[in-house]
């Protein structure tokens, strides 16, 4: 008789609520029940009572990591309904931000996955490098996670020559670091032994369970909306779909690392070939009656937005199928037959989303009732000082250019 262990809903390996009820025989999982829905926010209902512009801000907060890909899917869907063609420059900027977002998402995943297998040095490296991308995204959009670049009719911010130069410098840095990560993934025997054969998902099962993104690509499924149903400027930006045939967590690691390389090349192409022109065209507030399915390739795979317009300034129905929602179905299959100790990394390997924090927070002092707003620099300084008081002083390290 098996032993039933509920893992979650609090912190089942990631800081996001989900419950995995696993039945064990010895150390092996023989049955797994995935429970999700603990954090349903009713955003789709909210969208029905907001106008299209307000809805962008709701949609951008569907995911705390890949916010841009959701707002892209929504905006291009509404633009299609309105019969509006945005400028080529705006399309290129959408690609630029989208690929920066993919790099930061994959580096975030790399750190989380490394942490799950006890490789905390890699976790520190990956998240340190990710900061460079977040700084560039903050430069472009004014924020680290919800960049607010997209609007209906194009993009809200243009990039000048100095900003483009900084983008390229960051890409140079990431490409250099990527050589180390790929070398590590392909040659380090410990990493390979820990990830190979874990969370197996065959090509047929990836199709059967509707897996998307790096999960499917690591099972040899060459699906990518950027090629299959090109949007923004992806029809003009050369890149290869990265696939792998390991069908396990190791393969998912390789795919994500190689995708970072592809994204770097794409960003370089976009910067070098950025067309001149405006970034915004006018779109009427009332969107003509109709419905549309709009798809984008998020870092985690295919996002599908369904938008139905009724001829007014508010959508009649908005439905968001995020990539993680598609990948949950394969998790049960991946868990069954594997060891309990592999559960955290198997779950983490589909890269489920969890929310990030904004760069500004309000701190309330309970003693005197005052409050203070921390901007990013102040928050970073507070963090450095906090650790310094406790014996971990990185202020000297920060003087080094390489830091």
């Amino acid at each position: 008789m098996g032993v039933v262990i509920p893992v979650g809903p609090q912190h089942p390996s990631l800081k996001e609520p989900a419950c995995f009820t696993v039945t064990l025989e010895g150390e092996k999982v023989v049955n797994a029940v995935v429970g999700v829905g603990y954090n349903h926010r009713g955003l789709e209902k909210v969208c029905e009572s907001r106008n299209y512009i307000q809805t962008i801000y709701i949609i951008e907060r569907v995911c705390g990591i890949c916010s841009h890909t959701h707002s892209t899917a929504f905006c291009q869907g509404v633009e299609e309904l309105a019969g509006v063609q945005i400028t080529r420059r705006a399309e290129f900027i959408r690609v630029l931000v989208g690929e920066l977002e993919r790099i930061h998402s994959h580096l975030l995943w790399l750190g989380v996955a490394a942490h799950e297998i006890g490789f905390d040095t890699m976790f520190m490296y990956a998240w340190r490098d990710r900061e460079r991308i977040l700084d560039i995204l903050a430069l472009i959009g004014g924020n680290r996670v919800n960049y607010g670049i997209n609007t209906i009719g194009g993009v809200r911010r243009d990039l000048d020559a100095d900003e483009l130069k900084q983008v390229i410098e960051t890409v140079d840095y990431i490409e250099e670091r990527l050589k180390y990560y790929i070398d590590l993934a392909l040659t380090d025997t410990t990493l390979s032994a820990r990830l190979s054969g874990v969370g197996k998902l065959s090509h047929a099962d990836a199709l059967r369970f509707g897996a998307v993104g790096p999960v499917a690509k690591a099972s040899g499924v060459a699906d990518d909306i950027r090629k299959d149903d090109p949007y923004a400027a992806y029809d003009s930006v050369p890149f290869d779909i990265v696939t792998d045939d390991h069908c396990d967590v190791f393969g998912r690691t390789v795919v994500r690392l190689k995708e970072i390389g592809q994204s770097c090349q794409m960003i370089r192409f976009v910067v070098e070939n950025l067309p001149d022109g405006d970034t915004l065209v006018k779109v009427p507030r009332m969107i003509p009656k109709g419905e549309v399915f709009s798809r984008t390739e998020a870092p985690r795979g295919e996002n599908i937005h369904y938008i139905r317009a009724g001829g007014k300034d508010k959508p009649e129905r908005v439905r968001v199928r995020a990539a993680t929602e598609a990948n949950w179905h394969a998790v049960k299959h991946m868990l069954e037959g594997d060891y309990l100790a592999d559960l955290p990394i198997i779950i983490a390997a589909i890269d489920p989303c969890y929310s990030c924090t904004d760069r500004a927070i309000v701190v309330n002092d309970l003693d005197n009732g005052s409050s203070d707003v921390f901007n990013w620099e102040k928050l970073r300084r507070y963090s450095v000082d906090w650790y310094a008081k406790r014996g971990v002083d990185i202020r000297d390290v920060r003087k080094l250019k390489e830091f």
Partner: protein, 186 residues
Amino acid sequence: MEFPFAAKLQEALNEKFPSLTTAISRKGNKVSAEGMDETMFRAVVDYVVNELGVTRTHEVVGVDDIETLGAIYVFSAPEHKVMLTLKVSVPRENPVLHGLTNIYPNLFWHERELVDLFGFTVLDLPEGPHYPLPDIWPEGNYPMRKDWDPACFDKETMTYTPKPKPAAPAAKPAAKSAETPKKEEA
């Protein structure tokens, strides 16, 4: 871009289901068909999956069409990169449909959403907890229906109290009879 398979798919559906001709449309690599009742929907699914190679499913979208409830199933043909959406409509008073979870396990959560958010009865759907609503969600409340008003829902007590219907407008005063003396003109 040209999508020859999308045109072929539209043509094949028109030929096989002539009654749907006006309800089938195509835009780029997306083909859609609507206006189907449950029986017709199952026949179309059987045809496209087994005869045309439209084998992959992506999601199900519930919609409230006021008089009917609709479920839009999103399929694709992996080899041809073509998307097919099939919309089945069921009566609002008795929204019953046969689900596809037994064929496509990835539709489990989507069909559960139809149950929780729109009040569908999905036959062949495996037992399971509420999704995405909480276990203590009151029966008979389907929040994605158009007539469900969030302002009427008390999150503390989990009760829904419909707004009272506006009172009928007061009866208009009877028309003045011809005998009513007119005001003397100034």
